[in-house]
Subunit: 303 residues, 2 copies
């Protein structure tokens, strides 16, 4: 059995009874383990993290999408975060970096069912993309619910990958995708120089010619400054490479790293890769980590 992760985002962050019912639809699906749920009232959005094998994960996601379509009306939704669906995005994420093909297949199987059975238009994005221009979620979600409602039937460029060429009257649309695990990683400097943090962020991020698969911005904290990063593929730019990119530039400016923090969960592969680099231990992989081996053993026994 191969576990994959699913991290759906729902356009409700204020009504606990609605969020509870969506989470219950996920947690009540056999074979699924709920790992996390977070709601943000300002964004009016909730993020749920769960794992299961491909089929169980699809079933749980489908149940959640159906529940959200019943309980959330986008016509009355407002929040700081852009959105175009009651279930806004459903990314499948490989736990072992090699399992991307399983996640892509899960996205497509779920999308076909959501389009046909729930009459919600579906857009595939990132590694599940069918039209290359839809890779980035921001492009797919352009205009949000209100904009897509007008454009979907008129503009062939906005025709969905699955389902009707009209938004669902309350639930809008949904983006379903597959992507590598994203690592949110912040490095705090022992400096109050916001310009330094911004300059480092500008030098290291991919967009401006820096490290691949790295997004970065400089932020002011109460007690210093921070380079806040997203690693969108830790196999391309590792945690240690990101840390060192910040540390060395800070050092050149006479500053140092005070501490760093990972926000959310970190795949075992990302931690092991760091140990492999630091220890110059090329054969140190997930297969040598006891806890991962136990997990794999338990999963294999369930096959």
């Amino acid at each position: 059995m191969t576990l994959i992760e699913c991290v759906p985002n729902f356009s409700e962050g204020r009504r606990p009874e609605v969020i509870d019912e969506i989470v219950a639809a996920i947690a009540g699906t056999p074979g699924v383990t709920l790992l996390d749920r977070q709601s943000d009232a300002h964004h009016n959005r909730s993020v749920v993290t769960f794992v299961g094998d491909s089929l169980a994960a699809q079933k749980a996601a489908f149940a959640a999408i159906a529940t959200a379509a019943r309980l959330i009306d986008l016509n009355h939704h407002e929040g700081a975060h852009p959105r175009f669906g009651a279930t806004d995005v459903v990314p499948f994420v490989p736990i072992r970096a090699d399992d991307m093909a399983i996640c892509v297949a899960a996205a497509h199987a779920l999308g076909a069912r959501v389009g046909a059975e729930l009459a919600i238009p579906v857009y595939y994005y990132e590694d599940a993309v069918r039209r290359p221009e839809r890779r980035n979620l921001a492009d797919v979600r352009r205009g949000e619910f209100e904009g897509l409602r007008e454009a979907i039937g008129r503009d062939p460029q906005r025709a969905p990958d699955e389902g009707p060429a009209a938004v669902h009257p309350q639930a809008g649309a949904v983006a379903i995708g597959a992507r590598q695990a994203l690592i949110a990683y912040n490095v705090n400097l022992d400096s109050t120089d916001l310009e330094l943090a911004r300059r480092i962020a500008g030098e290291i991020r991919e967009r401006d010619g820096g490290l691949p698969c790295l997004k970065a911005m400089g932020l002011a904290l109460d007690d210093g400054v921070q380079v806040s990063m997203n690693l969108t593929d830790y196999r391309r730019t590792s945690l240690r490479a990101a840390f060192e990119a910040v540390r060395s530039r800070a050092a050149a400016a006479g500053a140092d790293v005070r501490e760093s923090e990972v926000v959310g969960l970190l795949p075992e592969d990302a931690v092991t890769a760091l140990a492999r680099e630091v220890l110059r231990a090329p054969r140190l992989t997930r297969a040598l980590v006891l806890d991962a081996k136990i997990l794999d053993g338990i999963l294999a026994a369930e096959e």
Copy 2:
């Protein structure tokens, strides 16, 4: 449910049918996951690694000890490795460093049963020790089977912690203990200077005033030299500290680390601790690692 690891050593490394039957006794115990088995014909010894909750692990270990007592006769055993029992040692090892008390309790419960039901004398060692002079396994096993057979009834210092004051006629005695995970870790130098490897080993090992909980020796390889280490408590001396101790001393002598390797399995906590140090990320613990969290989620669901 809390999983613990058990790594029994059996005095048989040549007859596959005997080893198979012992392993089958373990793997056939409900709630136990077999992780590894290794046999060494020269040592005439096999090491089995499995995990389970405390009760399942005790049952599997008991079944293995009973099977080994039936199939192995120490009177006809010879091998390079010191031994005093058909099942020679049974260490319980916490998977999460904090779970040592559970391992000590498992050792004592198993020991009482082995002494009473199998009439095999039991000696507790390391963290399960009842007499402080028995902490080190080498002291417990002094004289091996043949020596203990003579001494056990005469010398009050050799009286067992459980069971009869006579060795089992075929199966001898057994040492049952609890200890932190031991990490076997080798660092290879780009040098052929065996004296350098030996000098570094001498400087860094605890016995000679070096790093706590670190054993080390210098070895010649076909293509270089190696500092071969055992970390007996990675919370005291970490993988990175051991690596750096070797690297810095090698560098001072004009040599460098070519690569390093972990032999056997590594607890998640040891990998995460390394990332925590390198990234200066004090809040980076096992609780943030996806795979460990999934494992804990699956185990919690089984409670």
